[in-house]
Amino acid sequence: MNRCRGISTLTTALVMIVSIIISLVTLSIIMLSMQYIMNFTNIKISTIKKLINTRITFIYGEYNKTNKNFYIVMENQGPTINSISEIKISFGGLGSYDIYVFSSMPCTQCKCWNVIEVDNPNGIWDHGETLIIYLYNCTALEPPYSIDIVHPMVGKFTFSFGEKPWNIQ
C-alpha cells in the first residue's frame, strides 16, 4: 500500500516537473516570438519614418513638343545628393522602358538626360531644392509615362504621370 502511494507521489511529482518544463519552454518560445515581432515592427516603423523623411517629391512632368523632350520637376526632401550626375534614371511610356544616361551635351537622338538646378546650380541636389530633369527621346512614347530615380543616398523612387487632362495638348 505504502509502496503504491510512493509510486503515485513520484508519478505526480514527475508530471508536475514535466508540465512546468513544458510551460517554461512554451513561454520562452512565445516570448522569443513576441520579441522577434516587436523588433520586426520597430524596424518597419523606422523604415516608414525614414521613407517619410527621405524622399523625392514629383511636382510635374510633361512632353515638350517644341524641344522634343520630356521635362520633369522634382524636389529633394531627403539628404543632400552630392553628385547629381550619379543619379540613375530609367524612363518610359506604355510598354517601353529604357535606361537613360547623363549627358552635359544632350541631343534629341540620344536616350540621355540633363538637368537644371533651380535654386543653387552647383551640381549638388540640396535638401529642398527643385530640379528640372530633361529627358531626350526621339521615339514616340505613349502615356502614362513612368520614371525611376535611383541614388544610393535616397534609394529608389518611381513616379508616373501623363494621365491628366492638362498634360494632353
Binding site: 510551460s23 516603423i45 510635374y60 517644341t66 520637376v73 524636389e75 529642398g128 492638362w166
Partner: protein
C-alpha cells in the same frame, strides 16, 4: 494536468494581450507619423489679369485641415504655377515664398486679418488663410491653371475650372 491547462490559458491570455498592445502601439506610431505631415487643402482660387503691367494675380484660399500647425517659410514651402501663356505654350513658374507669393491674410472666427509680407507664419489647425501670388506673365484666357503647393515635400494640387 491542471497546472498544464492553467499555464496554457495564462500563456494564451498573455499572448493576446501582448499582440493587441503591439498592434495598438504600431497604429499609434503610424497615426502620429501621418498627423505630422502637413494637411493643407486649396479651397478656391481667383485669377485677375492686369494687361497694362503684364501681370497675373491669383488670390488663393486655403485651409489647414490637419491636427498640427503648418509652418510657411522660404525653406520648406514652394509654389508651382502651371498655365498656358498667350501663345498657348505650357509654362511652369516656380514661385518663391515671401517674394513671388505670400500669406496675405488669415481668417479667425470669420473675420479676415491682413498680414505682413515675407514673414514666417505658423498656421493653426482649422485655420483658413489666403495667399497672394503675382506672376509676370499673362495667362491665356479660358485655360485651366494648376497650382501645386509643396510643403515639406507634401504635394497639394489644385486646378482651376475653365
Amino acid at each position: 494536468m491542471m497546472i498544464v491547462i492553467v499555464s496554457f490559458v495564462v500563456l494564451v491570455i498573455l499572448s493576446i494581450y501582448s499582440f493587441s498592445t503591439l498592434i495598438i502601439t504600431m497604429s499609434n506610431e503610424l497615426n502620429n507619423l501621418i498627423k505630422d505631415l502637413p494637411q493643407v487643402k486649396i479651397l478656391n482660387a481667383t485669377i485677375s489679369i492686369d494687361i497694362s503691367t503684364n501681370t497675373t494675380m491669383i488670390n488663393c484660399s486655403l485651409i489647414n485641415y490637419g491636427q498640427r500647425s503648418v509652418i510657411f517659410s522660404y525653406s520648406n514651402t514652394k509654389l508651382y504655377v502651371i498655365y498656358r501663356d498667350t501663345n498657348n505654350v505650357t509654362r511652369i513658374k516656380i514661385m518663391k515664398y515671401g517674394e513671388d507669393w505670400y500669406i496675405s491674410s488669415i481668417k479667425i472666427n470669420g473675420i479676415e486679418y491682413n498680414l505682413s509680407k515675407n514673414i514666417i507664419y505658423e498656421i493653426s489647425p482649422g485655420m483658413e488663410f489666403i495667399i497672394y501670388i503675382s506672376i509676370n506673365d499673362v495667362f491665356k484666357s479660358n485655360t485651366p491653371v494648376t497650382l501645386i503647393l509643396s510643403i515639406r515635400g507634401v504635394r497639394i494640387e489644385y486646378t482651376t475650372s475653365v
